[in-house]
Subunit: 109 residues, 2 copies
Amino acid sequence: MDYEDAITALADPTRRIIIDRLRGGSLPVAAIAKGMDVSRPAVSQHLRVLSDAGLLTVTPKGNRRLYAIAPDGVDGLRRYLDTLWDDALAAFARAAAEQAKENANERSD
Amino acid sequence: MDYEDAITALADPTRRIIIDRLRGGSLPVAAIAKGMDVSRPAVSQHLRVLSDAGLLTVTPKGNRRLYAIAPDGVDGLRRYLDTLWDDALAAFARAAAEQAKENANERSD
DNA sequence: ACGAATCGTAAGCAATGACTTACGGTAAGT
DNA sequence: ACTTACCGTAAGTCATTGCTTACGATTCGT
């Protein structure tokens, strides 16, 4: 299972902020950390977690390191949630049908 | 933001197991806890977290309480990931185009 | 070649959270 | 009515983890 690391990584608010900052495209670490309420090393640690989870790609560019969102990592989570969504809807429909049948029995009592 | 509670709730492995057990339909607490490697009160606490996050619905049924996956809660997370997916793909496409342009400049040097 | 900039890592600390045991409260069975 | 079953909550403990400061390594600029 790979989506598990992804969902664990995205559970942290600071990491979601980092992800949001990368929505527009790749950024170096200093640019990501700028204006955030945690130190730059903290951001580095979060970037490590996000990379290990497959949510970010790193491309060394001379002095700096550019981080970007990895579409594949996001897709893993999307697929997990899609199956969950399908099962939830199916179970919901069955429960609704069951409830309707019970109501019909009540009326016939 | 509501999806934040949902993703935090799903970050825990035990809670994901609980969710998986509810994929087939609603279950009482004892049935969920049966065979799991944590105590029943622990399951109760997890069910509380999942409910507060909007991922589960509770319907008291006489002596027992039936828990079921709430499609709406799952949908909130799906929408968040969809926007993330869209932005990631767009950024990826821009980066690819940029890279192609750089390569063209290199060949012309 | 030397100083400045960019970044990752190590060590230590404080806070969050997941678990257990113990308990109380409500509904079902006899 | 009394016992049993089902379930949530409280209190306390222990591991996890997110943060800071300090440091070392690599690259850019002059």
